[in-house]
Symmetry: C2
Subunit: 334 residues, 2 copies
DNA sequence: CTGAAAGCGCTAACAT
DNA sequence: ATGTTAGCGCTTTCAG
């Protein structure tokens, strides 16, 4: 570990002169600067970021908090976030809460003790009340991929217009001629999607009875189980809206396991449009979320706070759009 | 930001007494300890991990370096690593290199400047020569999911017995009666899998002509393209071994797009057994990698180094095993 | 243009 | 049992 002091000794200069030469900030004569730089090079000097952070109260670190990385929706976003942060010399501390609020709190506390510069909190991975508290303490943070009605006003947030997404899904299925619909969703993180969906049904005077609404947790397996329940109804749905692609994959699995066909017997539409969805059988029709845009806006909002900007806009809503593939079609004529 | 000094002032004690009370290390009378603890509580004291790190030269941070998180093989491992690390109060700094060695070097340098305590470097994400250099500088690091012949002796490493995995794949296909085989693999990170595969073919006096060996990069899309090339041969293979599940998914996609069936026309076997593979159509036959074990051994080897243990065993090989699902069957009788 | 010194928050010897 | 002090590596006034 070679410090500026070491190279000061070696060159016979004072610590501060070395610091100036290295940082390029102070005024140093060209000759001494050269000598110092060369010496630093030779001795293998590496600036101690920790000491610097300690002084500046800036760690060049952001925290990324999410439910679980095993849902393939997240990696696509994380990738973009990490890359963008890295362009600003920021590194990403990553942690998953598995929807365990207690754990989330612990993680946050640890991050705060480390003086992480900013926090990106994704998809309902923490107790919103806690988040609100942290925000009021002045921590730079932004919510990403939450429902816009989940968080109190004022907390910067970039989300997808999930209500709209639900509407798009409903329109698509209705346009195809489906009446008997089923929904698989998570409570309470995905109610907006459901509400958007319902609003369209209602306008079309179609009801969605309780047994056609299956609550799940955000795993493939629970999508599978939820679909099984839908199929077990006496009058099974001709189309299923799963509020995430990950759930939709589980649902398709269940439908096929039940000896039915997708989309001929049952149409399935997902939401997220994860990379995988295009490559499955059948390729999944999905309401796409512009993930790159989501990541960019999030990082941007975060850095604006980190940079001390006031009046960072509180809310960005990103428009989803329909991607039609082959998991949806007209209902079988019965 | 309240410091021990603040609470020293508030209680009229000296800094060190406060420190002692808080850490529980020194000897402090019960009454003052109580007073201090309470005061700390009230003032919202939070220990400054950065200052502590600065003093101790320990940051409670490990780095996780990998090619790309969008390959779903990694999230499953990352999850386990993060969780295990978290149990020891360690946090995980995550970065992906996209197989860009230059970028990998930059990232490493940054991490080193931060005094990251240890490094987990996954799946050929960095130049092994660089890694070797870092290791010789004394950085605690462990390679995870590399081929065991890729790294020089001495660098701690936990890997899967990929040669064996290749053999298992070959045996499985041969046992089913396939002779005309195709392979999709990455160069140079996956040559061992190929060699294991070939060793079995050779023993069975089956040759694998050059056009039946498709080199790809580790993406779904390149698996797709590679499979297309295999199918374009005049005498197409009756079975394909893809050296990762992610490639296998792309391959299946290509086979189906070509109007052929899996497994009736073409069997496909993957390697990794990612969670997804069980839920696809057809469910993928795969050589499974015990991911939890991989993660645990890796973390264990890393912490033993961090803890200063000498003679950390250099190499752990984990045995893969076959999981038969429905993407493989007997060749069509022609 | 260069040097001396204080301080970021905490720890650990060492005095008292 | 409590207080004093030096120091981790770096940055930044402020003097020389």
């Amino acid at each position: 570990m070679v410090t500026i002091y070491d190279i000061a000794k070696a060159t016979g200069m004072a610590k501060s002169t070395v610091a100036n030469a290295l940082s390029g900030k102070g005024v140093v004569s060209e000759t001494t600067r050269q000598r110092i730089l060369q010496c630093a090079q030779e001795m293998g000097y590496r600036p101690n970021v920790l000491a610097r952070s300690f002084y500046h109260h800036k760690t060049l670190t952001i925290a990324l908090i999410l439910p679980t990385i095993t849902n393939p929706f997240y990696p696509e976003i994380i990738e973009a976030i990490e890359r963008t942060a890295s362009e600003r010399d920021y590194q990403t501390l990553f942690c998953s809460t598995h929807m365990n609020f207690e754990l989330g709190r612990e993680q946050m506390e640890r991050m705060m003790s480390r003086w992480v510069d900013g926090y990106i909190i994704m998809g309902s991975s923490m107790d919103i009340a806690d988040v609100h508290g942290y925000f009021q303490q002045g921590l730079p943070l932004v919510l990403c991929d939450w429902q816009e009605n989940e968080a109190p006003e004022g907390i910067p947030q970039v989300s997808v217009d999930f209500y709209r997404a639900g509407q798009i899904a409903a329109h698509h299925l209705l346009d195809l001629g489906h009446h008997r619909l089923g929904v698989i969703f998570d409570e309470p993180q995905q109610t907006l999607r459901l509400e958007g969906f319902l609003s369209v049904l209602q306008a079309a005077q179609i009801t969605l009875p309780g047994e056609m609404r299956q609550v799940s947790s955000s795993t493939l397996e629970s999508g599978y189980l939820a679909a099984q329940h839908l199929l077990a109804q006496t009058e099974r749905p001709s189309a299923i809206f799963a509020t995430t692609d990950w759930l939709a994959l589980g649902a398709i699995d269940a439908v096929l396991d039940a000896g039915l066909r997708v989309p001929e017997d049952i149409s399935v539409v997902g939401l997220d449009d994860i990379m995988l969805s295009a490559h499955l059988r059948p390729p999944l029709t999905s309401i796409a979320v512009p993930k790159l845009q989501l990541a960019r806006e999030t990082i941007s909002l975060l850095f604006r706070q980190i940079d001390g900007e006031k009046d960072v806009p509180a809310r960005k809503l990103i428009a989803p759009y329909l991607v039609v593939r082959q998991s949806t079609t007209f209902p079988a004529s019965t």
